[in-house]
């Protein structure tokens, strides 16, 4: 617990220093090209941008500890950072979860088939398909999907995302192409991982003896093989979490999903440090939570496993 908390603080401090090392500041971003010298000076004074770095960080940290992540000053002035994050995080989580479900579905099917038909044509097809999909840049895939399924067949909107809060059906509809673009390379990675661990588990002593003892094939697969193979599989899924949070920014841009990664990137361009730090802290919290979740699931899958 203390370790995680210390990580958060250090993480925030590192982000803070990194941002302040970048040339340019929030004043120019907010005031644009009507930024006369005294307008800039007034802006800096108003937002305490001239205070020593330690002082600025300390006042941010103090507020953050009480849950007040401050306000945006040069991206969406006046809106609280919490509001910006709260407005965008659900979108990222929705599309991320959507992509994950698609990837899990595809990879469970593909990986299991490839492993159980090891060496035969289904295996070769599935494995080659997986390798090719891993090699595709996901934003490129996004554009191709738009070209074919949106502008071509017209089944999905080419741009724009309906929030789940506004319309769940709309969210599923407009979120399909971005989720698919993210899911396809991920499914490739996961299905290869699953295939490899399944193959390995097949050869384990307890599985061979279960066969010898005459248990049903499906029973063996479900109780002995899958539960053990899933542990590294679930761990691999957990590792995708950090990618789903911030790595899908380009996809978010292509499809217009107003996600938290875009907020962070735009805030970085606008030198809105408070927003970037707030987002960074939220990211870290989510990653920590995901790691806990993954560990719990793995523990459930295999009662013999210790931390």
């Amino acid at each position: 617990m203390i370790g995680s908390f210390a990580m958060l603080v250090v993480g925030a401090a590192v982000v803070f220093l990194l941002l302040h090392a970048i040339p340019g500041d929030a004043a120019i971003a907010a005031l644009g090209d009507s930024a006369s010298p005294d307008a800039i000076a007034a802006f800096r004074a108003q937002h305490h941008l001239n205070d020593p770095l330690a002082v600025q960080f300390w006042s941010w940290a103090q507020a953050a500890l009480t849950g007040d992540l401050g306000q945006s000053i040069s991206l969406a002035g006046g809106f609280s950072t919490a509001a910006l994050i709260a407005g965008s995080l659900p979108n990222t989580l929705f599309v991320g979860a959507y992509a994950l479900i698609l990837a899990i579905a595809i990879s469970l099917a593909g990986g299991s088939i490839a492993a159980s038909r090891h060496g035969r044509i289904e295996d070769v097809l599935a494995t080659s398909g997986a390798i090719v999909t891993i090699s595709l840049p996901d934003f490129w895939l996004g554009y191709v999907l738009v070209l074919v399924f949106s502008l071509g067949f017209g089944w999905f909107p080419a741009y724009g995302f309906t929030r789940p809060g506004d319309s769940l059906a709309g969210a599923f509809h407009s979120g399909f192409l971005p989720a698919l673009a993210i899911a396809v390379p991920m499914a490739g990675i996961l299905s290869r991982m699953l295939r490899a661990t399944l193959l390995e588990t097949f050869r384990r002593a307890y599985v061979v003896s279960a066969h010898a003892m005459g248990f049903g094939r499906f029973f063996i697969f479900w109780h002995y093989v899958l539960r053990n193979a899933l542990i590294p599989y679930v761990t691999a899924i957990g590792l995708q979490a950090r990618y789903l949070l911030g790595g899908v920014v380009v996809i978010e841009r292509v499809f217009g999903v107003p996600g938290v990664g875009s907020v962070m990137v735009d805030a970085a361009f606008a030198r809105d440090y408070g927003v970037v730090q707030g987002c960074a802290v939220v990211f870290l919290l989510i990653v920590i939570a995901t790691n806990l979740l993954v560990d719990t699931i793995c523990g459930l899958l295999d009662p013999r496993r210790t931390a």
């Binding site: 370790g3 250090v10 390798i131 840049p137 554009y143 950090r242 990618y243 790595g247």
Partner: protein, 285 residues
């Protein structure tokens, strides 16, 4: 099990593995194209021809032309060189730094290990793209900054892998023997441990090369990467996306080229992993 024999057997397995052969063919053909493009292509990579912008693929321009009239195929080959160098450089740097950190951490353990891995975890938890972006803003755009960003992103991967492998290997008999004999830690790390953990690190390296190219492409895609007029695969995809509906071949063909190269790298990585498999399992179980 002496260290020397492990590598001998592994190389043979790798060499004859069909997957690795396929990957090797792809990469070797790419490298040949890169070496020979200067001789074979009638176009320079930056030769602008404002009269022939966005022409469809033809005999004169097998991949068509881009929005400045530059030959896309020539630029893809030069761009592949640039992207590979950037990715390679970044991975080597990240790999070296990460491996050193991981090996030290795994070998000595204790407080050093705990604190270092916390920092590594922190770095690892940070969203890749945003980390790279902030670094680009800090260092300025350009190939060198992209390499550094890739290096930074990969340090945690190598550190974690090196650490867990070093910690496992440390318990082996021959390492204990070397320590008892009074060999200096550095010698032990270099002579006993490193050769045995090198293989998984290599697998990580080959996988990372592909991702490094994608990261470079992603950064150049939003304009933060390589400076014009230097071509890179990412720069070309960015240009292609701006004119995607008028001239879909630029983005499509460049994307296919990127996938081709990464496919080759992944196949080699797979071959490596397959070759390692017997050794890996024995070491880790």
């Amino acid at each position: 099990m002496t260290p020397g024999r492990a590598t001998g057997g592994m190389w043979y397995t790798f060499r004859t593995n069909r997957v690795a052969q396929a990957g090797g063919t792809i990469i070797v053909s790419t490298l040949m194209a890169i070496l020979l493009v200067r001789l074979l292509s009638p176009y320079g990579p930056n030769e602008k021809d404002y009269m022939s912008i966005l022409h469809m693929p033809s005999l004169a321009h097998p991949f068509g032309t881009d929005s400045f009239g530059q030959d896309v195929l020539t630029r893809v080959v030069y761009g592949a060189q640039v992207s590979l160098i950037i990715s390679f450089g970044g991975l080597i740097l990240g790999g070296l730094v990460g491996s050193v950190i991981g090996m030290a951490s795994g070998f000595w353990g204790g407080v050093l290990d705990a604190v270092t891995m916390r920092f590594i975890d922190l770095l690892y938890s940070f969203p890749t793209y945003v980390l790279a972006l902030c670094l680009m803003l800090l260092l300025g755009y350009g190939s060198r900054s992209v390499s550094l960003a890739i290096a930074l992103v990969y340090v945690p991967n190598f550190a974690r892998l090196a650490r867990s492998m070093t910690a496992a290997t440390r318990a082996e008999n021959y390492v204990t023997a070397a320590r008892l004999m009074g060999q200096s830690p550095t010698r032990i790390l270099l002579r006993e441990i490193l050769p045995n953990i090198a293989a998984p690190l290599l697998v990580q390296f080959s996988a990372g090369l592909g991702f490094g190219i994608i990261l470079e492409a992603g950064l150049s895609f939003v304009g933060l990467g390589v400076q014009p007029p230097t071509p890179s695969l990412g720069v070309m995809m960015a240009d292609g996306k701006d004119y995607f509906q008028k001239a879909p071949w630029v983005l499509t063909l460049t994307g296919v080229s990127v996938a081709w190269i990464i496919l080759g790298l992944n196949l080699i990585g797979d071959g490596l992993r397959d070759a390692l498999d017997p050794q890996l399992r024995r070491r880790l179980s």
